[in-house]
């Protein structure tokens, strides 16, 4: 059983609705859906504090990891916790934890993951430094060291 205390290190969480079509023939949420849940959660995370012009800067995934601890089942309600754990020049890492509450009210950590994301200049289609304003917004929100 994963310890819930780690959640204190996250300043943001959001509810994600599991859809009927997310379940596969094994009765679990299909493994391929988790990166979509992470994506949906990080968009909400950014909307919460970050000013981002998607017509100038894109963000692409360079690396993704998902650790499936226990499956998500019908009736589970989930929250995805998101934080920025590393800030580089053109890239940054986000960590995710999915916490599920089942129909009996039992809460468990079901999934842990991370994505390394690269900022790109939309016009040039090349990596570009994270703009200073947005870097500061991330540092302030997640209390990172500058």
């Amino acid at each position: 059983m994963e310890n819930l205390e780690i959640l204190a290190e996250f300043n943001f969480k959001t509810h994600i609705e599991i859809r009927f079509s997310d379940f596969d023939l094994q009765g679990h949420v299909n493994n391929a859906l988790y990166l979509t849940y992470f994506e949906q959660a990080r968009i909400k995370y950014w909307q919460h504090f970050l000013e981002w012009d998607w017509t100038i800067y894109g963000i692409v995934v360079a690396k993704a990891e998902v650790n499936y601890i226990t499956p998500l089942l019908m009736g589970d309600k989930i929250e995805v916790h998101v934080r920025t754990s590393k800030l580089n020049n053109t890239s940054f890492q986000l960590d995710y934890i999915i916490v599920s509450t089942n129909e009996e009210g039992k809460t468990t950590i079901t999934t842990k993951g991370s994505t390394l994301l690269v900022v790109i200049d939309i016009q040039k289609q090349k990596p570009v430094a994270i703009p200073q304003l947005q870097r500061n917004q991330i540092i302030n929100f997640d209390k990172l060291e500058a």
Partner: protein, 129 residues
């Protein structure tokens, strides 16, 4: 090591507003390729489930090198190795004209009634492991 190769094509609805295949879609490609590999070895994913044997993904790592775009033709290469008694590693790679698009390492565990099990002998033999 027996390499299994599957040819594929990007469908427009898999591309996001950045004009590239959305990162989550690659997991669908990889999963389909794994199931086709199993089928080639005489193991049917849906039939295994009816027999109460479910291979489940325990961990996945994907390294994205280049994007795929609308209409791209590509291939998925897959092979499988055994790690210890319970874990099976699928090493998978998506290539377009020999250029690596991305690579994945997928750890799979066989389960029955939700509990990990040692893979039955007939499965090991089918996989050549």
């Amino acid at each position: 090591m027996q390499l299994y190769t599957l040819d594929f094509e990007v469908r427009d609805y898999e591309c996001d507003l950045q004009g590239i295949v959305n990162n989550a879609v690659y997991q669908n490609y990889y999963e389909h390729a794994r199931h086709k590999l199993l089928k080639q070895r005489g193991l049917d994913f849906a039939r295994l489930h009816l027999e109460n044997i479910d291979p489940v993904v325990y961990r996945i790592e994907i390294d994205f090198k280049r994007p795929l775009k609308s209409g791209d033709q590509f291939s998925i290469e897959s092979y499988i190795e055994r790690e210890g008694n319970l874990k099976f590693l699928f090493f998978q790679c998506i290539k377009k004209n020999d250029a690596i698009i991305n690579k994945a390492k997928v750890t799979v565990v066989f389960t029955s009634q939700g509990k990990p099990i040692a893979a039955p002998q007939n499965i090991l033999e089918a996989l050549g492991l």
